[in-house]
Symmetry: C2
Subunit: 226 residues, 2 copies
């Protein structure tokens, strides 16, 4: 059995940093609108830029600057734009903070072959994998642009893994869970306390859910997988 | 024999677009310094940001904005920053323009298994591979963060290719040629008419050089490889 792990908000904290950054952005721009108006405009701009920019801190920072200029009708100051650049740098400089218990779980799953499959900016994700100290737990690490069924199928083919022999574990239903189930793999949903607006999923689903990554070994044992 | 192709400035034009963008940036900031001073400052800022930002248009755009704020001592206007964001969008929106004769060469090398190995922003590179129309010529396409010997070794291992059975073709000595020769592969240098300052190589080298990609089939034939 090969176990795939999402990284952001599954192995380490991520979205909470972006949420804190949103709050600072809203404070910075409070002359030009309330938090809800700013958040809605940012969501629009990120959605518009996503096909071109993809995911990650650099894309986010550029969209923040674009949002600041638009929402202020060009009145935002250069000093405020410099502060927005700093928000981006702060997110990139933020040390990797592992989710509580991750190392123990990876240790406990020592007999299973493990992969990281994470989406986003190639440079930032590779640097976080390196500085997380978790690299040696994993057989393979893959940074992908999109987490869709075709991408999972291509990766599993590349590494010679049959979907029936694969479990994906992650916090995002549309990215980590549903596409893997669609190609005949298993998936486990481990919700994070906040979800990025672009990863919300409203529909029903039948994916097994655990509250904490620490419950994964017991679930796999229930499935007869250890 | 497996042939690896670099993409930017090997299969399609890239650096000329950045150079044109530099000129527009210098014109935009001409109140704050001459072209050389601006170029030097941008080189410094890009070098400083590279370990964090990596390569690509988003990294470039963020460094341009940082450069504009620094070189103007904060006096650059919001409208000018909006124009810099537009320079980034223009580079991302620029249609892929193939280097003359690329399709014929790939056709002519039909019997060889071909890969794209390109460095830079995951989203932009994948979108260019798709829109280039060249996808079907290639067995595999890989976007990597760094083109160093360890990365080439990892990729060749992953795809089950022995370095002695691999030729890499590209315009950059430090990225496409030297690291591949270091791990025991062959490499062919095809210079592009401009080279990004961060890819300059001053040392001696013994890599075979051809003037145009169209000369590749003849070189491989000389080597007894077809």
């Amino acid at each position: 059995m090969i176990i795939g792990f999402d990284a952001d908000d599954t192995l380490w904290h991520n979205e909470d940093g972006f949420q804190a950054s949103h709050r600072e952005f809203e404070t910075l721009l409070s002359d030009y609108g309330g938090p809800t108006a700013i958040e809605e405009r940012l969501f629009e701009i990120e959605s518009r830029n996503m096909p071109k920019y993809g995911y990650g801190v650099k894309a986010y920072t550029l969209s923040l600057i674009e949002c600041a200029i638009e929402i202020s009708d060009g009145h935002v100051s250069t000093a405020q734009i410099a502060s927005i650049l700093d928000l981006g740098h702060a997110l990139l400089d933020r040390p990797v903070e592992l989710i509580n218990g991750v190392t123990d779980v990876l240790d406990e799953l020592g007999d299973h072959t493990k992969m990281i499959i994470t989406k986003g900016d190639l440079y930032h994700q590779l640097s976080r994998i390196e500085s997380s100290g978790l690299r040696t737990f994993f057989w393979q690490t893959e940074v992908v642009a999109h987490k869709d069924p075709a991408t999972y199928q291509r990766l599993l083919d590349l590494h010679g893994v049959d979907p029936s022999n694969f479990v994906m574990v992650g916090n995002s239903l549309p990215s980590d869970v549903l596409p893997v189930m669609e190609i005949g793999g298993k998936a486990v949903h481990v919700p994070y306390h906040v979800t990025w607006a672009h990863e919300h999923h409203d529909g029903d689903h039948e994916a097994p859910t655990i509250e904490h990554l620490g419950d994964l070994p017991a679930l796999l044992a229930d499935w007869g997988l250890r």
